[in-house]
């Protein structure tokens, strides 16, 4: 799995990144997590609200800080 967290470095984006890492760890899943801060790259996904979550180049959520439990459901 290749996970991208889109967001230009706001508090919420950092929170989402931390939640993603925590969810992955507790599920024991190996995955690459990349933080995308360049807004040209963010826009290439068509996202208007950050933070956004992208898994294997597919946008899964926009404008929301998903909780660790919600993330676990997505990663399973």
């Amino acid at each position: 799995m290749y996970i991208k967290v889109l967001g230009s470095g706001c508090d919420k984006c950092k929170k989402l990144e931390a939640n993603v890492k925590e969810a992955l760890q507790s599920l024991g899943i190996e995955a690459t997590v990349e933080k995308v801060e360049d807004f040209k790259q963010i826009m290439a996904f068509g996202v208007m609200q950050t933070p956004a979550l992208v898994i294997d180049e597919k946008v899964k959520s926009i404008g929301k800080v998903l909780s660790v439990d919600e993330l676990k459901n997505i990663f399973k």
Binding site: S8, M43, A44, F45, G46, M48, Q49, V59, I62
Partner: protein
């Protein structure tokens, strides 16, 4: 009528709080509220409590409505309209789409990529920070309903007219080229449950209070200082009704400032109580909220200098006209 007036006084103007704080300052602390220090203390405590109480209640209910209008949906609705009706709708949707200045760039690109005319996007971007429902109710609480409604109308007019001029002037070529041709993500907006919307509203209250509390404290602090410490003669020399330069001065001071509309309201309140024209106070509020150095710097990333200058120029001229007209006809409202 009597019941309505009572509700207005107690819920919106919060007379119970006014009296409670008065009792607290006079009996518990033991200072008359007509003394300088007692008066400032009363203004500060009353305004801080009033703004935070109203703000939390308002943001909660408004966020609930907003959860029906995410930017993706607003974009879809706007795509169906042309010409000035698109500008009007853009300005109206600007008042209910949840939006913070930090996401103005992704929004600008997202709207433009989907083929919306940039004039419509500008109508949206101008009205969004300027006229939001919470600020309108706070205006009604601090001043009165007539001023609140007049503020909404002129704010929307400013957004519609500026956006229409930008549309008519064919400014598309002054937008950076990478803005066009990005993926347009189509998401379904109606998958939220009642519980989702409530938790969205709760999160919004937390986020917004966390973001604006400092501006409110600073704003109320300045307001309290103006209210009790700065002599009326000093204020009226700079910003008095009879000074033609009061409106331009208030606007120029306000433009580079970055603050929230909730922080500027107590300053406007104190200024008006010192005899400053309502137009001057509104011009200051509009200049602070509609234009700020950080938002101009952000916009610079997506539009060329010429369009940026036209945008700032149009909004500034609009604010000046609004300020002068309110000063001339303000007696109708107070």
């Amino acid at each position: 009528m009597f019941v309505l007036e009572w509700l207005n006084n107690q819920l919106l103007k919060m007379e119970w709080l006014n009296n409670g704080v008065k009792w607290f300052v006079e009996t518990v602390i033991g200072m008359g509220i007509d003394t300088k220090l007692g008066g400032s203390l009363h203004f500060f405590i009353y305004d801080v409590f009033k703004i935070f109480l109203l703000l939390s209640a308002l943001i909660f209910s408004i966020s609930y409505i907003q959860s029906y209008f995410p930017p993706e949906r607003t974009r879809k609705i706007l795509g169906r309209f042309n010409g000035i009706s698109a500008n009007i709708l853009g300005a109206l949707l600007g008042t209910i789409t949840p939006f913070c200045s930090c996401s103005s760039i992704p929004l600008f690109i997202g709207f433009t990529s989907a083929g919306l005319p940039i004039g419509v996007t500008f109508s949206f971007l101008i009205s969004s920070p300027l006229v939001d429902l919470a600020s309108v109710l706070l205006l009604a609480s601090i001043f009165n309903w007539k001023i609140a409604i007049a503020y909404v109308i002129v704010g929307l007019l400013l957004a519609v007219i500026s956006g229409t001029i930008i549309s008519k002037a064919k400014m598309e070529k002054y937008v950076e080229s990478f803005v066009y041709g990005n993926t347009v993500l189509d998401v379904d907006a109606d998958t939220l449950t009642f519980k989702d919307r409530i938790s969205f509203a709760q999160d919004q209250v937390k986020d917004i209070v966390k973001k604006v509390w400092i501006y409110i404290l600073i704003g109320v602090g300045i307001g309290a200082a103006i209210h009790n410490w700065i002599p009326e003669s000093v204020i009226s020399a700079a910003l008095g009704q009879d000074k033609w330069y009061s409106v331009p001065l208030a606007t120029l001071v306000g433009i580079p400032m970055y603050a929230d509309i909730f922080g500027t309201l107590p300053i406007a309140e104190a200024l008006v109580s010192k005899g400053v024209g309502i137009g001057t106070a509104l011009a200051f509020m509009m200049a602070v909220t509609a234009l700020s150095l950080p938002s101009i710097i952000m916009l610079k990333k997506v539009v060329k200098t010429k369009l940026l200058v036209i945008f700032v120029g149009l909004v500034t001229i609009g604010i000046l006209i609004i300020g002068f007209s309110f000063n001339a006809f303000g007696y109708l409202f107070l």
